[in-house]
């Protein structure tokens, strides 16, 4: 298993995203809000001629709200899911490393938000990291209730 992982920090924690799913890392400028959309959908942004749906990862993990329209640039990882492009807001993008193990279940108790998006723990050169399920983070909180 030599999957490449992108290490990012979300809400102060370092986690891993499958690098193959990440198309690019962008800096978001201004956002167009989407009224009535779920709260973790921060808005829309344009990347070249594509519309990105911006997901506030902090909010999706129920760990607070990222202040996006403060005039600063925000880093985000662009992913594609079912033909739609999303920008996942992160605190910082750090590095790309190779996974040294398959994800294994984490048996310690995590926060509810993390629990929902966790695909397990992977070993890397930089120590164990939580592998994040992109689909779950895009779906946001409350998606399980809807699916049930």
């Amino acid at each position: 298993m030599n999957e490449l992982l992108l290490i990012v920090s979300i809400a102060g924690s370092r986690v891993a995203l499958p690098a193959a799913a990440v198309e690019s890392v962008v800096e978001l400028e201004s956002l167009i809000p989407v009224p009535r959309a779920p709260n973790h959908v921060a808005g829309l942004s344009a990347l070249r001629s594509r519309v990105l749906t911006v997901i506030d990862c902090k909010h999706s993990l129920e760990l607070g709200v990222t202040e996006l329209n403060d005039g600063n640039l925000h880093e985000a990882a662009v992913v594609e899911l079912d033909g739609h492009h999303y920008a996942l807001t992160v605190d910082a993008v750090e590095d790309v490393v190779e996974a040294m193990s398959d994800p294994t279940p984490i048996r310690a108790a995590m926060g509810a938000g993390w629990e929902r998006v966790s695909k397990g723990m992977v070993e890397t050169e930089e120590g164990p990291l939580l592998l994040v399920d992109i689909a779950a983070i895009v779906a946001g909180p409350g998606s399980e209730a809807r699916a049930a």
């Binding site: 989407v34 009224p35 959309a37 344009a46 519309v51 739609h84």
Partner: protein, 778 residues
Amino acid sequence: MDDLIADFVAECREMLEALGGEIVAWEANPDDRARLDSIFRFVHTVKGNCGFFDFPRLEALSHAAEDALADCRAGRRQADGILVSAVLAVIDRIGEMIAAIDAGEAIPDGDDSDLIDALAPGAEGPAIQAPIAVDVGGKGNATPRTIRLSVELLDRVMSGVSDMVLARNELARRLREAPTEVPVDSAFERLSGIIAEMRDAITRTRMQRIENLFVALPRMVRDLSTELGKQVLVDIDGGDVELDREMIEMIRDPLTHIIRNAVDHGIETPAERIKAGKREIGLLAVSARQSGNQILIEIADDGKGIDGGKLVEKALANGVIEADVSKGLSRSEQLALIFEAGLSTAKEVTAISGRGVGMDVVRSNVERIGGVVELDSTPGKGTRMILRVPLTLTIIPALTVSIGSQHFAIPRSAIEEIVRANGGSVTLERIGGAGVATIRGRRVPEVALADVLGLPSDVRDEDRTLVVLRPAGGDVYALAVDRIHDHEELVVKPAAPAVMATGLYAGTTLADDGSPILLFDPAGVAQVGGVMLETAERGGRGVEAPVATSSNEVPVLLFRGLDGARRALRLGVVDRIEEVSCDAIRPSAGQLRVQLGEAILPLAGVEKPDELEGKVRVFRLNDGNHEIGYAFREVVDLMSIDREVIPADVPGAVNGVTLIGGEPAELVDAHWLFAEYLGASARPQTQLVCRLPEGDAWMQNMLRPIVEAAGYLVIGERDELAADITIVSHGEAVEGDQDGRVLRLATDPDAVDGKDSIYRYDRTGLLLALKSASAGRR
């Protein structure tokens, strides 16, 4: 090897599609060598490839069909209905096997000997035959030089071109800001031109001839009519019209359903048709044509038509409408019931069309892609359905509006009208917290977009603009927005599921400056805003009539003529706008005429025919019987006349001026245009002519409408037509030797003397005189 099989499957698919129409046409005319050849070529190709790929079952089938067809080609055997059905059955079986190969499955074991036996001379047919004749436009199937491309690649090229357009816009902005040299500007101009051209070309690659949709119809109708014991002649026209490929897929099901309905419910059995005095073969005409940025697909049958009364009964029985509402329905409203959910007029559900998929689904499918379904039916004569769909799925004409600082788009197709909340004909009321707008006497539910979206807005209710919307399949409501911005053609893409889940939006798009805009789904906005769309309007027309008469706002189309003048035309007379090349305009038979499709119409609005170049836009004006064209430069806007019209002194193409949008505009006199341009030829033989003094404003403005309403053609003193009646002011001499009757109008009731003299406000007397003159003529 896999690649080769994939190519084989693709090739067979293509041939199979094209073959559906060919084989039926061949049956209608078994001597048609070209069709026989193309069917033969298909089975021959399949047979050849099967040997190579080792598909024994396919090979045996195609071999048998090839043998039978070879006999026909050599003249050893006559093609008959039984053979055609047998060959059809074989081709269907081949299609199933090819589908299996495509899916990567092994061809299931099975016995094809029944089909092979049916091909033998003198065999019993596998199906009952019904004679059927098909007209698919005579030409054979010439394969154009093409390559297959994945849609994905095309989409990538398309988005590359979109990026290029955005980059160009950005560059244009920068160039405007900084002073540049002329060579730089001209190089940029050239680049712009090339990019625009490329965008057009790439958009066209997504286009497909609608033939792809039509080619399967003859076969479908044949099978259907055989099953139902009916005889149907299919007439297909306009297969070369091009449509976005995704659009073609979207209208495939609605079209199929409408045709099934037409054959099943519309066209009668031969016996019924003969009884009704019609030809025993029913006619089903399917045609496509382009009109502006829309494609019109028309499906017309000459069957028994739709029984409006039955529809009403059914709607009552199913609880779709209330009993008191049903009585006041007009014929078109009765027909519109067919689009309500849960209605099917057939007495019993047949396998053909009553599968729970009703016309309501057809309409909502068509409306989902921004189209409209129109229905027209005459009992005993037939039914005509027209699908109007936009040219491409992704480009939607939209109106941009804003709340606070954020922009949104509303699809144009749903917009009925736009009014200011503080306008004279509009009142806003709150009834139990709900907004109700009364627009020219019509009460419509009103919602403020800012409330629906939960956005802050500093615009007061009465300063907002109301956009009156008619969502797909629903009734009107008014949406109050802060500001209206622009009409734009937007390239719409679906939004992410989380955004779509709000129910408010139909998609996203990018504005010219590259920022995203959300496109509303008008039905969704109504739902979220708590507006009841169903049945809200049908019974609520009561207040309309009395108030409407007191309102004299007339909707007009404001445009610039070829000479640059601001003019307005009453919207009612404009049928549609077409763009023609100036070659289509030429003087013939004494006046300027324009060719629009297959019609040649007299053309007005052109002062200097020699100076026309490039494309010319033309209004198509319609008076119900005749059409004429009116050339113009550009449409400015849809407006309404709310001010006084200052009448023109002399009758002519312009009947007055008025202020529209704060600036004067000439009001085009459609009546004069028709009278002038249709000329004597189009005038009915019995047209009565009345001569009125040209210089008399009272006569022209007050009297003329009355005279015209009485069926007279009004002419001036110098006109050479013979007048049936001549009207002059009292005391004025009648010029020259007037034929017909002379009527003198007095300004003073006391001055009336004699039989032909009438007080000018004696309306009854006037009408009587006009009538008696016409009676004398006949």
